[in-house]
């Protein structure tokens, strides 16, 4: 295995708060790496820092290329897709417009997107703000899948979704992981257990555990200690 994404000594300060305190981890090429931890430990900030959406220092190397001083739009063009925590679909644009906005380099993969989410084809002219939470999540994931990305940063894609939709999103993640490397922030450990190969655990802005996801999730005392939950 080779590391596609190497994070070294990554710091983020938001106001007075030192949110990320020199985190270091690798994301191996292919499959899903889960970024886990209790609420407020810096998981979302980590993804935003990798995207360049917050000021950060340290080193983020994608396939040998340093990204830490690269602006967000150039990071994306180097093959990084992003599915934000709150979906962030453009409510005043239609589904089609949301997707069209995400097109890059003229090789948009609409066949793949509509294969995964056939509903989006039917709802193309509907305003994204009038979609259900699950449908908005489909739009958010579809935008990231529309282009051929090397790595996808996916932030809590099952948050607030009904159980049936959680299963659907997990199915999509499993399929997506065959197409690109995925760094997944996820609170639903059932989904993590199903799709993730590796796990990185954060606690108060530091990495406290790195290892195979299934080993971690099989160790109930460790799950309880690191994540503060019992794994069902």
């Amino acid at each position: 295995m080779t590391a596609l994404l190497e994070v070294r000594d990554l710091h983020v300060r938001l106001g007075e708060s030192h949110v990320l305190q020199g985190i270091e981890f690798d994301v191996e090429e292919g499959g899903v790496t889960a970024l886990l931890g209790r609420n407020g430990v810096g998981k979302t900030t980590t993804l935003r820092a990798l995207m360049g959406l917050v000021d950060r220092s340290g080193s983020v190397v994608l396939a040998g290329e340093e990204l830490v001083s690269t602006p967000t739009h150039r990071i994306v063009r180097r093959g990084v897709g992003y599915v934000p925590e709150d979906r962030d679909v453009f409510a005043g644009l239609t589904v089609d417009e949301n997707l069209r906005l995400a097109e890059r380099n003229g090789a948009a993969r609409y066949d793949l997107v509509y294969d995964l989410f056939p509903e989006l084809r039917e709802r193309g002219s509907q305003l994204a703000g009038t979609l259900s939470g699950g449908q908005q999540q489909m739009v958010a994931i579809a935008r990231a899948l529309l282009n051929e990305n090397r790595v996808l940063l996916v932030d809590e894609p099952t948050k607030g979704l009904a159980p049936a939709l959680v299963t659907q999103v997990a199915d999509v993640l499993a399929r997506v992981s065959e197409l690109a490397t995925v760094l997944l922030v996820e609170q639903n450990l059932g989904v993590v257990n199903r799709v993730a190969r590796d796990a990185v655990v954060l606690d108060t802005g530091r990495v406290v555990h790195i290892g195979p996801a299934k080993e971690l999730l099989a160790d109930t005392p460790m799950v309880h200690r690191l994540l503060g939950v019992g794994h069902a």
């Binding site: 995207m51 959406l53 602006p71 967000t72 739009h73 994306v76 063009r77 992003y82 934000p84 962030d88 453009f90 409510a91 005043g92 644009l93 417009e97 069209r100 906005l101 995400a102 890059r104 935008r143 282009n147």
Partner: protein, 293 residues
């Protein structure tokens, strides 16, 4: 009845002038979060660009001179606005206090520079005689320049709507007004859209300067500053970032100003506009369109 028609068309003309200034102001705030206090300077530069060009074309017949002057004024205003964005605003993204200071300073400096070069006195701007004549409409004798203002504003509104709805840059701007960070997270260099919006706003303001020359028949260094105040009121009433809200608010403000000046007392027009602003903010704090705080 004829007085009411005259007041209504004149109010619509004034509203058209406000819309031309306010549309760029609204788009700039909506997309970039920049309260551009230098927007009046774009208008002033456009107005003086026209006057200066016309003054250098003394022997040319009035219609070509007027049109060449208008095109030059709009071009200078557009270029000035784009340069302001690139040189002054771009280094200050997310630094709102500094942006306010810089744009207020630029507005004052532009006026001071024009006073230093051409003096404080109003300069007459020659226009084709037809624009000063009247056309009878529903019994009222309406100055033709009112129709020019209204038609220009309708064309600008239609052009901006077409641009926003039908082009990729329009799509980027509409998305950027909602969530700028997410637009960049889709791989789009939103800075180009920023410059474009400033240039479009500058062009519309410069057009307002050109038409203001026709409406007022003179140009003076404070023309942009005085109209900017009403443009801000229009933008707040319409809802920051909303083009249609801005258009509706501009018409309402223009009409209220005209009716109050005539039916209440001369000079009450400005006060009535401020009262209207207070009423709208109390009833709909996010403006008529409901967009943005």
């Amino acid at each position: 009845m004829t007085t009411f028609v005259l007041l209504t068309v004149t109010g619509l003309g004034l509203g058209a002038l406000y819309f031309l200034i306010a549309s760029g102001l609204s788009l700039i705030y909506g997309l970039m979060g920049v309260l551009n206090f230098a927007h009046g300077a774009f208008l002033t530069v456009g107005a003086y660009g026209m006057w200066f060009t016309e003054s250098k074309l003394g022997g040319v017949p009035i219609w070509p001179r007027f049109l060449i002057g208008a095109v030059a004024g709009i071009a200078v205003g557009t270029l000035f606005a784009a340069l302001v964005e690139i040189v002054l605003i771009r280094p200050l993204y997310r630094r709102h206090i500094e942006q306010v200071l810089v744009t207020v300073g630029l507005g004052l400096a532009t006026t001071a520079l024009i006073v230093a070069i051409w003096g404080n006195d109003a300069r007459p701007v020659p226009s084709p005689a037809w624009l000063g004549e009247t056309t009878t409409f529903l019994g009222a004798h309406i100055p033709n320049d009112r129709f020019l203002l209204i038609v220009a504003a309708i064309l600008v509104l239609a052009g901006l709507e077409t641009f926003l709805q039908r082009t990729r840059y329009g799509l980027i701007i509409r998305a950027g007004v909602e969530n700028r960070a997410m637009v960049t997270a889709l791989g789009i260099d939103v800075r180009k859209a920023f410059t474009l919006v400033f240039a479009i706003g500058g062009a519309a303001a410069a057009l307002a300067g050109v038409l203001g020359n026709v409406y007022f028949t003179t140009v003076d260094p404070n023309v942009g500053t005085s109209l900017l105040i009403f443009a801000f009121i229009v933008v707040v009433i319409g809802g920051l970032g909303s083009l249609r809200g801005t258009a509706i608010a501009a018409v309402v403000v223009g009409l209220v100003q005209q009716y109050a000046n005539y039916y209440a007392s001369s000079g009450l027009g400005d006060l009535s506009v401020v009262l209207l602003l207070a009423l709208v903010l109390l009833a709909r704090p996010r403006g008529l369109s409901g967009s943005f705080a």
